[in-house]
Protein backbone atom coordinates (compact mmCIF):
# COMPACT_ATOMS: atom_id res chain seq x y z
CA UNK A 1 0.00 0.00 0.00
CA UNK A 2 1.41 3.36 -0.99
CA UNK A 3 1.27 6.31 1.31
CA UNK A 4 -0.72 9.01 -0.42
CA UNK A 5 -1.09 11.67 2.23
CA UNK A 6 1.21 14.35 3.45
CA UNK A 7 -0.14 15.08 6.92
CA UNK A 8 -1.13 12.62 9.61
CA UNK A 9 -4.70 12.00 10.68
CA UNK A 10 -5.25 11.87 14.44
CA UNK A 11 -8.22 9.72 15.45
CA UNK A 12 -7.32 9.07 19.05
CA UNK A 13 -8.94 12.07 20.75
CA UNK A 14 -10.26 9.79 23.50
CA UNK A 15 -6.66 9.13 24.56
CA UNK A 16 -5.76 12.80 24.65
CA UNK A 17 -6.49 15.95 22.69
CA UNK A 18 -4.09 18.58 21.38
CA UNK A 19 -4.22 21.86 23.29
CA UNK A 20 -6.44 24.32 21.45
CA UNK A 21 -4.32 27.33 20.32
CA UNK A 22 -6.80 29.64 22.11
CA UNK A 23 -6.18 27.68 25.32
CA UNK A 24 -2.43 27.92 24.95
CA UNK A 25 -2.70 31.69 24.48
CA UNK A 26 -4.71 32.03 27.68
CA UNK A 27 -2.16 29.97 29.61
CA UNK A 28 1.04 31.70 28.51
CA UNK A 29 0.99 34.71 30.87
CA UNK A 30 0.75 32.36 33.86
CA UNK A 31 4.20 30.83 33.39
CA UNK A 32 6.56 33.78 33.75
CA UNK A 33 4.53 36.94 34.34
CA UNK A 34 1.63 35.94 36.59
CA UNK A 35 3.55 33.11 38.20
CA UNK A 36 2.58 33.66 41.84
CA UNK A 37 1.69 31.06 44.44
CA UNK A 38 -2.03 31.25 45.19
CA UNK A 39 -1.29 31.02 48.92
CA UNK A 40 0.95 34.13 48.95
CA UNK A 41 -0.43 37.32 50.42
CA UNK A 42 1.34 39.75 48.06
CA UNK A 43 0.09 40.96 44.71
CA UNK A 44 1.71 38.11 42.77
CA UNK A 45 -0.12 35.60 44.90
CA UNK A 46 -3.38 37.47 44.71
CA UNK A 47 -3.16 37.67 40.93
CA UNK A 48 -2.74 33.90 40.74
CA UNK A 49 -5.50 33.35 43.29
CA UNK A 50 -7.84 35.50 41.24
CA UNK A 51 -7.14 33.45 38.12
CA UNK A 52 -7.71 30.25 40.07
CA UNK A 53 -11.07 31.39 41.42
CA UNK A 54 -12.20 32.65 38.05
CA UNK A 55 -11.30 29.26 36.55
CA UNK A 56 -13.21 27.51 39.31
CA UNK A 57 -16.28 29.53 38.37
CA UNK A 58 -15.99 28.54 34.70
CA UNK A 59 -15.64 24.81 35.41
CA UNK A 60 -18.52 24.96 37.88
CA UNK A 61 -20.65 26.81 35.34
CA UNK A 62 -20.26 24.12 32.68
CA UNK A 63 -21.82 21.53 35.00
CA UNK A 64 -24.31 23.63 36.94
CA UNK A 65 -22.33 23.48 40.19
CA UNK A 66 -21.34 26.17 42.68
CA UNK A 67 -17.71 27.34 42.41
CA UNK A 68 -16.87 26.19 45.94
CA UNK A 69 -17.94 22.68 45.00
CA UNK A 70 -15.03 22.35 42.55
CA UNK A 71 -11.73 20.87 43.77
CA UNK A 72 -8.87 21.12 41.32
CA UNK A 73 -6.60 18.08 41.03
CA UNK A 74 -3.80 16.94 38.75
CA UNK A 75 -5.86 14.50 36.69
CA UNK A 76 -8.99 12.42 36.36
CA UNK A 77 -7.08 9.55 37.95
CA UNK A 78 -6.46 11.64 41.04
CA UNK A 79 -10.07 12.84 41.11
CA UNK A 80 -11.37 9.28 40.93
CA UNK A 81 -8.94 8.13 43.63
CA UNK A 82 -10.06 11.00 45.86
CA UNK A 83 -13.73 10.28 45.28
CA UNK A 84 -13.54 6.58 46.08
CA UNK A 85 -11.00 6.56 48.87
CA UNK A 86 -12.13 9.90 50.30
CA UNK A 87 -15.76 8.84 50.57
CA UNK A 88 -14.90 5.35 51.79
CA UNK A 89 -12.76 6.51 54.68
CA UNK A 90 -14.99 9.43 55.67
CA UNK A 91 -18.10 7.24 55.84
CA UNK A 92 -16.84 3.93 57.17
CA UNK A 93 -18.86 4.39 60.35
CA UNK A 94 -22.01 4.34 58.24
CA UNK A 95 -20.96 1.34 56.18
CA UNK A 96 -18.28 -0.28 54.07
CA UNK A 97 -20.08 -1.25 50.86
CA UNK A 98 -19.26 0.29 47.48
CA UNK A 99 -20.89 -0.39 44.11
CA UNK A 100 -19.15 0.07 40.75
CA UNK A 101 -19.74 -1.05 37.16
CA UNK A 102 -17.48 -3.62 35.48
CA UNK A 103 -16.46 -1.15 32.76
CA UNK A 104 -14.99 1.64 34.88
CA UNK A 105 -11.63 3.14 34.03
CA UNK A 106 -8.62 1.39 35.58
CA UNK A 107 -8.21 4.13 38.18
CA UNK A 108 -11.67 3.36 39.58
CA UNK A 109 -11.23 -0.41 39.21
CA UNK A 110 -7.88 -0.35 41.00
CA UNK A 111 -9.01 2.08 43.71
CA UNK A 112 -11.94 -0.21 44.46
CA UNK A 113 -9.66 -3.23 44.52
CA UNK A 114 -7.35 -1.47 46.97
CA UNK A 115 -10.30 -0.51 49.17
CA UNK A 116 -11.24 -4.19 49.28
CA UNK A 117 -7.80 -4.92 50.70
CA UNK A 118 -8.54 -2.30 53.36
CA UNK A 119 -11.68 -4.10 54.49
CA UNK A 120 -14.31 -2.52 52.26
CA UNK A 121 -16.77 -4.62 50.28
CA UNK A 122 -17.15 -3.95 46.55
CA UNK A 123 -20.03 -5.04 44.33
CA UNK A 124 -19.33 -5.03 40.58
CA UNK A 125 -22.54 -4.84 38.60
CA UNK A 126 -23.09 -6.49 35.23
CA UNK A 127 -23.62 -4.63 31.99
CA UNK A 128 -25.63 -5.64 28.93
CA UNK A 129 -24.12 -6.31 25.52
CA UNK A 130 -24.03 -2.60 24.69
CA UNK A 131 -22.29 -1.80 27.97
CA UNK A 132 -25.33 -0.28 29.69
CA UNK A 133 -25.79 -0.53 33.44
CA UNK A 134 -29.38 -1.35 34.37
CA UNK A 135 -30.56 1.13 37.05
CA UNK A 136 -32.72 -1.67 38.50
CA UNK A 137 -29.49 -3.57 39.22
CA UNK A 138 -28.18 -0.58 41.16
CA UNK A 139 -31.38 -0.50 43.17
CA UNK A 140 -31.09 -4.19 43.97
CA UNK A 141 -27.42 -3.95 44.91
CA UNK A 142 -27.81 -1.10 47.41
CA UNK A 143 -27.73 -2.39 51.00
CA UNK A 144 -28.03 -0.81 54.41
CA UNK A 145 -24.28 -0.34 54.62
CA UNK A 146 -23.77 0.99 51.07
CA UNK A 147 -21.91 4.28 51.17
CA UNK A 148 -21.02 4.95 47.52
CA UNK A 149 -22.13 4.11 43.99
CA UNK A 150 -19.61 4.97 41.27
CA UNK A 151 -20.76 4.57 37.67
CA UNK A 152 -19.04 6.36 34.81
CA UNK A 153 -20.95 8.81 32.61
CA UNK A 154 -19.54 7.63 29.29
CA UNK A 155 -17.15 4.77 28.68
CA UNK A 156 -13.68 5.59 27.40
CA UNK A 157 -13.38 2.54 25.14
CA UNK A 158 -16.82 1.88 23.68
CA UNK A 159 -18.36 5.33 24.17
CA UNK A 160 -21.60 4.05 25.72
CA UNK A 161 -23.44 6.71 27.74
CA UNK A 162 -24.83 5.36 31.01
CA UNK A 163 -28.27 6.28 32.41
CA UNK A 164 -26.71 8.24 35.24
CA UNK A 165 -29.70 10.49 35.86
CA UNK A 166 -31.81 7.48 36.84
CA UNK A 167 -28.98 5.91 38.80
CA UNK A 168 -28.43 9.21 40.60
CA UNK A 169 -32.10 9.38 41.47
CA UNK A 170 -32.02 5.92 43.02
CA UNK A 171 -28.94 6.81 45.06
CA UNK A 172 -30.54 10.04 46.22
CA UNK A 173 -33.68 8.18 47.35
CA UNK A 174 -31.58 5.64 49.22
CA UNK A 175 -29.33 8.31 50.70
CA UNK A 176 -26.17 6.89 49.11
CA UNK A 177 -23.45 9.07 47.61
CA UNK A 178 -23.30 8.89 43.80
CA UNK A 179 -20.02 9.51 41.99
CA UNK A 180 -19.62 9.58 38.21
CA UNK A 181 -16.43 9.63 36.16
CA UNK A 182 -17.18 12.13 33.40
CA UNK A 183 -13.65 12.38 32.01
CA UNK A 184 -14.82 11.36 28.55
CA UNK A 185 -18.13 13.21 28.44
CA UNK A 186 -17.39 16.59 30.06
CA UNK A 187 -17.35 19.27 27.38
CA UNK A 188 -18.73 16.86 24.79
CA UNK A 189 -22.31 16.37 25.95
CA UNK A 190 -24.39 18.44 28.40
CA UNK A 191 -24.05 17.64 32.10
CA UNK A 192 -26.05 19.10 34.97
CA UNK A 193 -25.01 17.81 38.38
CA UNK A 194 -28.29 18.86 39.95
CA UNK A 195 -30.64 17.50 37.33
CA UNK A 196 -28.62 14.28 37.21
CA UNK A 197 -28.50 13.83 41.01
CA UNK A 198 -24.71 13.68 41.08
CA UNK A 199 -22.82 14.08 44.39
CA UNK A 200 -19.29 13.73 43.05
CA UNK A 201 -18.01 14.04 39.50
CA UNK A 202 -14.60 13.62 37.91
CA UNK A 203 -13.56 15.78 34.95
CA UNK A 204 -10.32 16.11 33.00
CA UNK A 205 -8.61 18.91 31.12
CA UNK A 206 -6.63 17.02 28.48
CA UNK A 207 -9.68 15.29 27.00
CA UNK A 208 -11.27 18.67 26.27
CA UNK A 209 -8.44 20.45 24.42
CA UNK A 210 -6.88 21.71 27.65
CA UNK A 211 -3.37 20.84 28.88
CA UNK A 212 -2.37 17.67 30.70
CA UNK A 213 -1.86 18.00 34.44
CA UNK A 214 -5.23 19.43 35.42
CA UNK A 215 -8.43 17.75 36.49
CA UNK A 216 -11.23 18.51 38.88
CA UNK A 217 -13.58 16.80 41.27
CA UNK A 218 -17.04 18.18 41.88
CA UNK A 219 -18.00 17.56 45.51
CA UNK A 220 -21.54 18.54 46.39
CA UNK A 221 -21.72 20.88 49.38
CA UNK A 222 -22.20 18.97 52.66
CA UNK A 223 -20.63 15.75 51.35
CA UNK A 224 -18.54 13.88 53.93
CA UNK A 225 -15.16 13.26 52.32
CA UNK A 226 -11.55 12.86 53.47
CA UNK A 227 -8.54 14.17 51.53
CA UNK A 228 -5.96 11.69 50.28
CA UNK A 229 -3.22 14.31 49.91
CA UNK A 230 -2.46 16.18 53.14
CA UNK A 231 -0.45 19.35 53.53
CA UNK A 232 -0.99 23.10 53.37
CA UNK A 233 -4.74 22.89 53.11
CA UNK A 234 -5.24 24.03 49.52
CA UNK A 235 -8.57 23.45 47.76
CA UNK A 236 -10.66 23.68 50.96
CA UNK A 237 -8.29 21.22 52.62
CA UNK A 238 -9.29 18.48 50.21
CA UNK A 239 -6.24 18.59 48.02
CA UNK A 240 -3.05 20.09 49.40
CA UNK A 241 -0.34 20.94 46.89
CA UNK A 242 0.75 24.18 45.25
CA UNK A 243 -1.89 24.87 42.66
CA UNK A 244 -0.95 24.39 38.99
CA UNK A 245 -2.34 27.75 37.88
CA UNK A 246 -1.29 27.73 34.19
CA UNK A 247 -2.85 24.29 33.62
CA UNK A 248 -6.02 25.24 35.49
CA UNK A 249 -6.35 28.52 33.54
CA UNK A 250 -5.97 26.43 30.38
CA UNK A 251 -8.56 23.93 31.59
CA UNK A 252 -11.00 26.78 32.23
CA UNK A 253 -10.40 28.34 28.82
CA UNK A 254 -10.97 24.91 27.25
CA UNK A 255 -14.24 24.63 29.17
CA UNK A 256 -15.29 28.11 27.99
CA UNK A 257 -14.75 27.07 24.39
CA UNK A 258 -16.69 23.83 24.97
CA UNK A 259 -19.56 25.80 26.45
CA UNK A 260 -19.78 27.94 23.32
CA UNK A 261 -19.11 25.27 20.71
CA UNK A 262 -20.26 21.99 22.25
CA UNK A 263 -23.60 21.76 20.48
CA UNK A 264 -22.26 22.51 17.03
CA UNK A 265 -19.26 20.28 17.54
CA UNK A 266 -21.34 17.35 18.77
CA UNK A 267 -23.61 17.66 15.74
CA UNK A 268 -20.68 17.70 13.34
CA UNK A 269 -18.91 14.80 15.04
CA UNK A 270 -22.06 12.68 15.28
CA UNK A 271 -22.48 13.01 11.52
CA UNK A 272 -18.88 12.04 10.83
CA UNK A 273 -19.00 9.23 13.38
CA UNK A 274 -22.12 7.74 11.81
CA UNK A 275 -20.59 7.98 8.36
CA UNK A 276 -17.53 6.13 9.67
CA UNK A 277 -19.57 3.45 11.43
CA UNK A 278 -21.88 2.85 8.47
CA UNK A 279 -18.97 2.81 6.05
CA UNK A 280 -16.88 0.35 8.05
CA UNK A 281 -19.77 -2.05 8.70
CA UNK A 282 -20.71 -1.94 5.02
CA UNK A 283 -17.24 -2.21 3.52
CA UNK A 284 -15.67 -4.74 5.87
CA UNK A 285 -17.26 -8.16 6.22
CA UNK A 286 -17.04 -9.68 9.68
CA UNK A 287 -16.95 -6.26 11.34
CA UNK A 288 -19.06 -5.38 14.35
CA UNK A 289 -19.73 -2.22 16.33
CA UNK A 290 -18.80 -2.32 20.02
CA UNK A 291 -20.97 -0.25 22.33
CA UNK A 292 -24.43 1.21 21.97
CA UNK A 293 -25.51 2.19 18.42
CA UNK A 294 -27.31 5.35 19.62
CA UNK A 295 -26.44 6.07 23.25
CA UNK A 296 -22.79 6.77 22.56
CA UNK A 297 -20.39 9.70 22.64
CA UNK A 298 -20.54 11.83 19.49
CA UNK A 299 -16.86 11.16 18.80
CA UNK A 300 -16.48 7.44 19.53
CA UNK A 301 -16.45 4.48 17.16
CA UNK A 302 -15.23 1.06 18.27
CA UNK A 303 -15.23 -2.10 16.16
CA UNK A 304 -14.09 -5.67 16.31
CA UNK A 305 -12.93 -7.43 13.19
CA UNK A 306 -13.10 -11.15 12.80
CA UNK A 307 -9.76 -12.91 12.39
CA UNK A 308 -7.37 -10.00 12.84
CA UNK A 309 -5.30 -8.63 15.67
CA UNK A 310 -5.78 -5.04 16.86
CA UNK A 311 -2.17 -4.02 17.22
CA UNK A 312 -1.38 -5.12 13.68
CA UNK A 313 -4.19 -2.91 12.37
CA UNK A 314 -3.00 0.02 14.50
CA UNK A 315 0.55 -0.29 13.21
CA UNK A 316 -0.48 -0.64 9.57
CA UNK A 317 -2.71 2.43 9.90
CA UNK A 318 0.11 4.31 11.61
CA UNK A 319 2.36 3.56 8.64
CA UNK A 320 -0.42 4.98 6.46
CA UNK A 321 -0.60 8.15 8.55
CA UNK A 322 -3.63 7.36 10.70
CA UNK A 323 -3.37 7.30 14.50
CA UNK A 324 -5.95 5.10 16.24
CA UNK A 325 -6.02 2.84 19.28
CA UNK A 326 -6.36 -0.91 19.56
CA UNK A 327 -9.48 -1.63 21.53
CA UNK A 328 -7.40 -3.81 23.72
CA UNK A 329 -4.31 -5.71 24.68
CA UNK A 330 -1.15 -6.66 22.89
CA UNK A 331 -0.45 -2.96 23.10
CA UNK A 332 2.74 -1.98 24.79
CA UNK A 333 1.29 -1.75 28.28
CA UNK A 334 -0.81 -4.75 29.09
CA UNK A 335 -1.51 -8.13 27.56
CA UNK A 336 -4.81 -8.99 29.15
CA UNK A 337 -7.83 -8.38 26.92
CA UNK A 338 -9.73 -5.21 27.80
CA UNK A 339 -11.99 -5.71 30.83
CA UNK A 340 -14.57 -3.48 29.14
CA UNK A 341 -14.80 -5.59 26.00
CA UNK A 342 -14.96 -8.81 28.04
CA UNK A 343 -17.70 -7.31 30.20
CA UNK A 344 -19.89 -6.65 27.15
CA UNK A 345 -19.47 -10.30 26.20
CA UNK A 346 -16.67 -10.32 23.66
CA UNK A 347 -14.43 -13.36 23.62
CA UNK A 348 -10.73 -12.67 24.12
CA UNK A 349 -9.92 -13.15 20.43
CA UNK A 350 -12.69 -10.69 19.55
CA UNK A 351 -11.37 -8.22 22.10
CA UNK A 352 -7.90 -8.61 20.58
CA UNK A 353 -9.36 -7.76 17.18
CA UNK A 354 -10.89 -4.51 18.38
CA UNK A 355 -10.12 -0.99 17.25
CA UNK A 356 -11.14 2.39 18.66
CA UNK A 357 -11.34 5.48 16.47
CA UNK A 358 -12.15 8.68 18.34
CA UNK A 359 -12.87 11.87 16.46
CA UNK A 360 -12.35 15.44 17.54
CA UNK A 361 -12.31 19.16 16.87
CA UNK A 362 -10.06 18.95 13.82
CA UNK A 363 -11.45 15.82 12.20
CA UNK A 364 -12.55 16.47 8.63
CA UNK A 365 -14.81 14.55 6.32
CA UNK A 366 -11.89 13.80 4.00
CA UNK A 367 -10.11 12.13 6.93
CA UNK A 368 -13.04 9.78 7.36
CA UNK A 369 -13.08 9.11 3.62
CA UNK A 370 -9.41 8.23 3.73
CA UNK A 371 -9.95 5.83 6.64
CA UNK A 372 -12.83 4.21 4.78
CA UNK A 373 -10.52 3.80 1.82
CA UNK A 374 -7.53 2.22 3.58
CA UNK A 375 -8.98 0.38 6.61
CA UNK A 376 -10.74 -2.28 4.50
CA UNK A 377 -7.45 -2.89 2.66
CA UNK A 378 -5.52 -3.28 5.90
CA UNK A 379 -8.04 -5.72 7.36
CA UNK A 380 -8.13 -7.69 4.11
CA UNK A 381 -4.37 -7.92 4.03
CA UNK A 382 -4.13 -9.14 7.62
CA UNK A 383 -6.86 -11.67 7.01
CA UNK A 384 -4.93 -13.03 4.04
CA UNK A 385 -2.12 -14.12 6.32
CA UNK A 386 -4.47 -15.54 8.97
CA UNK A 387 -4.82 -19.31 9.47
CA UNK A 388 -8.58 -18.80 9.94
CA UNK A 389 -9.34 -17.50 6.47
CA UNK A 390 -11.85 -19.48 4.51
Amino acid sequence: MKKTITSKIYLDYAATTPVDPRVLKAMLPYFSEKFGNTMSLHSFGQEAKEALEESRGVIAGLMGAKPKEIIFTSSATESNNTALKGIAFANRKKGNHIIISPIEHDCVVESAKWLESQGFEVTRLKVGKFGLVDPADVKKAIKKDTILVSIMHANNEIGTIEPIEEIGKICRERNVYFHTDAAQSFGKIPIDVNKMNIDLMTVSSHKTYGPKGAGALFVRGGTKIEPIIHGGGHESGLRSSTVNVPAIVGFAEAARICQREMRREAEKLTKLRDKLIKGVLKKIGGSHLNGHPKKRLPNNANFWFKGVEGESIVMHLDLLGIAVSSGSACSSKSLAPSHVLLAIGLRPEQAYGSLRLSLGRWTKEKDINYVLDVLPKVVKRLREISPFKK
Binding site: K126, E311, C330, G345, E349, Y352, I385
Partner: protein
Protein backbone atom coordinates in the same frame (compact mmCIF):
# COMPACT_ATOMS: atom_id res chain seq x y z
CA UNK B 1 13.63 5.22 20.52
CA UNK B 2 10.67 3.95 18.51
CA UNK B 3 8.72 1.04 19.94
CA UNK B 4 9.95 -1.35 17.23
CA UNK B 5 13.13 -1.56 15.15
CA UNK B 6 13.41 -0.96 11.39
CA UNK B 7 13.98 -4.68 10.93
CA UNK B 8 10.68 -5.47 12.64
CA UNK B 9 8.82 -2.96 10.50
CA UNK B 10 10.47 -4.25 7.34
CA UNK B 11 9.18 -7.77 8.00
CA UNK B 12 5.83 -6.54 9.33
CA UNK B 13 5.12 -4.48 6.21
CA UNK B 14 6.25 -7.16 3.77
CA UNK B 15 6.26 -10.50 5.51
CA UNK B 16 8.14 -13.24 3.64
CA UNK B 17 6.86 -16.79 3.11
CA UNK B 18 3.22 -16.13 3.95
CA UNK B 19 0.71 -18.78 2.92
CA UNK B 20 0.25 -22.54 2.82
CA UNK B 21 2.12 -25.50 1.34
CA UNK B 22 0.11 -28.14 -0.48
CA UNK B 23 0.98 -31.62 0.83
CA UNK B 24 3.38 -30.39 3.52
CA UNK B 25 5.91 -32.72 5.10
CA UNK B 26 5.00 -31.30 8.50
CA UNK B 27 2.60 -28.81 10.04
CA UNK B 28 3.03 -27.04 13.37
CA UNK B 29 0.60 -24.95 15.33
CA UNK B 30 1.31 -22.84 18.38
CA UNK B 31 -0.90 -20.59 20.43
CA UNK B 32 0.16 -18.03 22.92
CA UNK B 33 -1.53 -18.31 26.26
CA UNK B 34 -0.79 -14.78 27.29
CA UNK B 35 -2.21 -12.80 24.41
CA UNK B 36 -4.12 -15.32 22.33
CA UNK B 37 -2.09 -15.10 19.10
CA UNK B 38 -2.21 -18.18 16.87
CA UNK B 39 0.50 -19.38 14.49
CA UNK B 40 0.43 -22.09 11.83
CA UNK B 41 3.59 -23.20 10.04
CA UNK B 42 4.02 -25.53 7.03
CA UNK B 43 7.25 -27.32 6.06
CA UNK B 44 8.44 -29.04 2.92
CA UNK B 45 11.35 -31.25 3.91
CA UNK B 46 13.68 -32.99 1.45
CA UNK B 47 17.03 -34.75 1.55
CA UNK B 48 20.10 -33.05 0.07
CA UNK B 49 22.88 -34.79 -1.86
CA UNK B 50 24.55 -35.82 1.37
CA UNK B 51 21.32 -37.43 2.51
CA UNK B 52 20.70 -34.81 5.22
CA UNK B 53 17.16 -33.56 5.76
CA UNK B 54 16.77 -29.89 4.91
CA UNK B 55 13.89 -27.39 4.89
CA UNK B 56 13.15 -27.02 1.18
CA UNK B 57 10.22 -24.67 1.69
CA UNK B 58 8.45 -22.99 4.61
CA UNK B 59 5.22 -20.99 4.81
CA UNK B 60 3.21 -19.49 7.68
CA UNK B 61 -0.18 -18.09 8.57
CA UNK B 62 -0.87 -16.11 11.70
CA UNK B 63 -3.48 -14.25 13.64
CA UNK B 64 -0.93 -12.21 15.46
CA UNK B 65 0.47 -8.88 16.47
CA UNK B 66 3.31 -6.91 14.91
CA UNK B 67 6.08 -8.86 16.60
CA UNK B 68 4.50 -12.23 15.87
CA UNK B 69 4.25 -11.43 12.16
CA UNK B 70 7.71 -9.85 11.87
CA UNK B 71 9.46 -12.51 13.88
CA UNK B 72 7.96 -15.42 12.00
CA UNK B 73 8.81 -13.82 8.69
CA UNK B 74 12.40 -13.41 9.85
CA UNK B 75 12.60 -16.98 11.14
CA UNK B 76 11.36 -18.43 7.86
CA UNK B 77 14.11 -16.59 5.95
CA UNK B 78 16.68 -17.86 8.45
CA UNK B 79 15.80 -21.55 8.24
CA UNK B 80 15.02 -22.04 4.56
CA UNK B 81 17.60 -24.44 3.09
CA UNK B 82 19.01 -25.33 6.52
CA UNK B 83 19.48 -28.79 8.02
CA UNK B 84 16.83 -29.83 10.53
CA UNK B 85 19.39 -30.49 13.29
CA UNK B 86 20.77 -26.97 12.89
CA UNK B 87 17.29 -25.45 12.82
CA UNK B 88 16.42 -27.06 16.13
CA UNK B 89 19.46 -25.40 17.68
CA UNK B 90 18.20 -21.85 17.00
CA UNK B 91 17.51 -20.04 20.26
CA UNK B 92 14.98 -17.30 20.83
CA UNK B 93 17.81 -14.92 21.71
CA UNK B 94 19.31 -15.43 18.23
CA UNK B 95 16.03 -14.29 16.74
CA UNK B 96 15.61 -11.34 19.05
CA UNK B 97 19.15 -10.23 18.26
CA UNK B 98 18.42 -10.35 14.55
CA UNK B 99 15.40 -8.10 15.02
CA UNK B 100 17.64 -5.21 16.01
CA UNK B 101 16.89 -3.21 19.13
CA UNK B 102 15.64 -5.08 22.19
CA UNK B 103 11.93 -5.87 22.18
CA UNK B 104 9.69 -4.26 24.77
CA UNK B 105 9.81 -6.87 27.58
CA UNK B 106 6.08 -7.42 27.30
CA UNK B 107 6.43 -8.50 23.67
CA UNK B 108 9.08 -11.16 24.11
CA UNK B 109 6.47 -13.89 24.49
CA UNK B 110 5.11 -12.99 21.02
CA UNK B 111 8.47 -13.77 19.51
CA UNK B 112 8.46 -17.31 20.90
CA UNK B 113 5.39 -18.26 18.88
CA UNK B 114 7.30 -18.72 15.63
CA UNK B 115 9.97 -20.92 17.18
CA UNK B 116 7.29 -23.04 18.87
CA UNK B 117 5.33 -23.58 15.67
CA UNK B 118 8.53 -24.53 13.87
CA UNK B 119 9.42 -27.12 16.51
CA UNK B 120 5.92 -28.51 16.27
CA UNK B 121 6.16 -28.81 12.48
CA UNK B 122 9.44 -30.69 12.73
CA UNK B 123 7.96 -32.90 15.48
CA UNK B 124 5.01 -33.62 13.20
CA UNK B 125 7.39 -34.56 10.38
CA UNK B 126 9.47 -36.85 12.62
CA UNK B 127 6.36 -38.54 13.91
CA UNK B 128 4.92 -39.16 10.44
CA UNK B 129 8.19 -40.56 9.19
CA UNK B 130 8.95 -42.58 12.30
CA UNK B 131 12.19 -40.76 12.98
CA UNK B 132 13.52 -40.87 16.52
CA UNK B 133 12.51 -37.83 18.59
CA UNK B 134 15.03 -36.40 21.02
CA UNK B 135 14.17 -35.96 24.69
CA UNK B 136 14.46 -32.18 24.39
CA UNK B 137 12.08 -31.97 21.46
CA UNK B 138 9.60 -34.26 23.21
CA UNK B 139 9.70 -32.00 26.25
CA UNK B 140 9.13 -28.93 24.13
CA UNK B 141 6.23 -30.64 22.37
CA UNK B 142 4.61 -31.39 25.74
CA UNK B 143 4.97 -27.77 26.82
CA UNK B 144 3.54 -26.33 23.58
CA UNK B 145 0.61 -28.76 23.59
CA UNK B 146 -0.20 -27.88 27.17
CA UNK B 147 -0.22 -24.17 26.34
CA UNK B 148 -2.59 -24.78 23.43
CA UNK B 149 -4.95 -26.83 25.59
CA UNK B 150 -5.01 -24.19 28.28
CA UNK B 151 -5.72 -21.54 25.67
CA UNK B 152 -8.70 -23.50 24.39
CA UNK B 153 -9.97 -24.08 27.91
CA UNK B 154 -9.73 -20.39 28.65
CA UNK B 155 -11.64 -19.46 25.50
CA UNK B 156 -14.34 -21.96 26.43
CA UNK B 157 -14.62 -20.35 29.85
CA UNK B 158 -15.18 -16.99 28.26
CA UNK B 159 -17.74 -18.40 25.86
CA UNK B 160 -19.88 -19.57 28.76
CA UNK B 161 -19.44 -16.15 30.28
CA UNK B 162 -20.63 -14.57 27.04
CA UNK B 163 -23.75 -16.73 26.97
CA UNK B 164 -24.56 -15.69 30.51
CA UNK B 165 -24.22 -12.03 29.65
CA UNK B 166 -26.39 -12.32 26.53
CA UNK B 167 -29.04 -14.35 28.32
CA UNK B 168 -29.51 -11.57 30.82
Amino acid sequence: MPLYSKEIFKHFKNPKNVGKIKKPSGVGEAGNLICGDVMKLYLKIEKNKKGERIIKDIKFETLGCVVAIANTSLLTTMVKGKKLEDVLKIKKDDLIKRLGQPLPPIKIHCSILAADALKEAIYDYYLKNEIEISKDLEKEHQRITKTKEELEKRYKGFQTFEKEVLKK
